[in-house]
Amino acid sequence: MSFLRRYFPRTYLARRNLRRAKVRTALAILTVAIGVVAIGGLGIFGLSFEASQQENLGDLGNEVRIESPQQFFSGKDAPELDERSLADIREIAGDAKMTVVRQGETATRSGSTDEIQIPSRAMGVTNPQLTYDVVEGEIPDNWNSGALVDQRTARYDELEVGDPVTVGGRLQRIVALIESPEGFSSLENTGGSALLPIELVEPARQPYSGVIIYAENAIEADEIAKELERELNGPLRKDQDKFTVENKKKEAETIEQQLTSTNRFLLGVGAIALLVAGVSIINVQLMSARERREEIGVLRAVGYGRLDILAIMMIETVFMGLLAAIVGVSLAVGAGAIINDALLGDPMAFQPNSWRYLAGAFGFGVFICILAGILPAWKASRERPADALRS
């Protein structure tokens, strides 16, 4: 005698019943499994998609930029980014690393007043590694001489690493070529300038043109930005031009929100798939109960109580739910590996929260089956045996 029949006779009867219409049972299980895959797989997809997006966006959210007003356009007693402001900035930024930028005078070719010399001017920076990507050559650890030239300028003037250039009236050797920064008016845009250690550059109009701070994360960046705003712009008069202090927290939040809503939408689609599967389980069990009407009547006649019938039919749906959830979660893990491979280049790059979606999908799958099983089981158990036997 089997273990089930000896110790769990209702489960034994339920399992036998499921075997009766194998194809129908298998199809019902498949619909639920698809729903489980939808929730689990889409959840994993959402997480991997988010991870890949964050990889692409880089550390957008943790930057804080401080720029002094453009004095050239300003007639309103614009404040300077001077040594004292820089000291304030350093204090507020604390441990966070930063690149300080100083613009030098535009140089002209000797002997000519209208022909612009390339590199057009010197731009003094600190910690260039933080802000610029080196494509050729190397920035020495202790960078106190030597110029950095962006690729576009180098191409224009046919310059290579090791070539001498005259920058800010001094002869310098090119130590590295850097990637041309994106953006037209951003602080770090070289625009034909050569980069030099900041102490080698004579300031043009004001001591510093700006600072880029790299905080630990978006939240810290936001705190630094708020304090800088208070410290730098707070003491200024209302009609004075202000320092520009900006961080990308809003942008980062917007992207985060978009990713979250995309994820929710995907999960919603998955949940609907599972609800549809639940309806198919109701359908299957109602059909099954109807086909078995006489049998259920016989069981009731020979002494099975309503609860026994209810239990047998509920066990059937729990069986289907468990089987579907196991199959579904296995498939979802497989689908997740394919998604990870496509988005992150590594099949096993499951995000830390992936298991939650899998567990949620498993639980929801079983739950939907139990929920769907209640009505048919209830109906079957409530039928009077005399009526059931008459069928």
């Binding site: 005698m1 029949r5 000896r6 006779p9 209702r10 034994y12 009867l13 036998r16 019943n17 075997r19 009766r20 006489e294 049998e295 009547g297 016989v298 069981l299 009731r300 006649a301 020979v302 002494g303 099975y304 109580g305 309503r306 026994d308 009077r384 045996p385 005399a386 036997l389 008459r390």
Partner: protein
């Protein structure tokens, strides 16, 4: 008196009109009797059997089983009494197709403790009805007569006091029907009461007494008088036939003889 019906009526509300399936039916059955209820289709035989089997309750009148009015039982109690006291043989066998012959016989006791004892008993019963070599066969692998014998074995798994058989030979040819009836009578003990409903008067020739139902009323004079019935001893071997049958009632299948 094992079971008594007193002025029992049963009505079914069917749309606009009410169907009176049983109309003022009274009779008593003593322990150990084999009673057949005969009558044409729609005469109320199955309704009567449902009432005796505690599957239904009368609209008026009372049915008393072992001295207790069945209406005093709750639905749950009735289920319990059915399990303990009554064995059912259904017209179309009522076997569970997904279970083997042995499991089908064990079904009524499957939820009870000591499954090994149940299985042992089921084994004995199947051997008693001549299906000792068909224990692991599924219903689909059995003939009609074999299925009905499995059903008979199942009706006895709980050692019931009363076996109710609805058209026990309905789906069988005459020869097989005769074997099945013999099996039923041979394998039930002296004190087991059998009430068989049939429209086949041939079955009646096996019985101690015949109740004839026509349009929901008992028409037979001998059955309409409960007191007269009570005087008839089921052990005298005097089979009360309806008189239409050519089959002798006093052969070895008649209760009181042949065992």
């Amino acid at each position: 008196m094992l079971i008594t019906a007193d002025s029992v009526s049963k009505q079914f509300a069917g749309g606009a009109d009410t169907v009176r399936a049983l109309d003022d039916v009274s009779f008593s059955i003593t322990a150990g009797e084999f009673v057949t209820v005969v009558g044409p289709s729609g005469s109320g035989k199955s309704t009567l059997l449902n009432l005796l089997g505690l599957l239904d309750t009368p609209t008026s009148g009372s049915v008393t089983l072992k001295g207790t009015d069945i209406e005093s039982y709750s639905a749950r109690d009735r289920t319990g009494v059915r399990k303990e006291t009554i064995g059912f043989v259904f017209q179309s066998y009522g076997l569970i197709p997904t279970l083997t012959a042995l499991e089908n016989v064990a079904v009524p006791r499957m939820l009870e403790p000591d499954p090994s004892a149940t299985e042992q008993r089921a084994n004995e019963l199947l051997n008693a009805v001549g299906l000792g070599d068909r224990l692991e066969h599924y219903p689909a692998e059995l003939s009609g007569g074999q299925k009905q014998r499995v059903a008979i074995a199942r009706s006895m798994i709980n050692d019931p006091d009363l076996i109710l058989a609805d058209e026990p030979t309905g789906n069988l040819d005459r020869e097989t029907g005769k074997q099945v009836l013999s099996t039923l009578l041979e394998s039930t003990g002296e004190d087991v009461t059998v009430v068989a409903v049939t429209h086949d008067e041939y079955v009646a020739s096996f019985s101690d007494r015949v109740l004839e139902l026509v349009d929901g009323t008992l028409s037979q004079s001998e059955s309409s008088d409960a007191e007269l019935n009570a005087e008839l001893s089921p052990t005298t071997g005097t089979a009360q036939t309806t008189g239409n049958s050519n089959e002798p009632a006093s052969d070895s299948t008649t209760r009181g003889e042949g065992r």
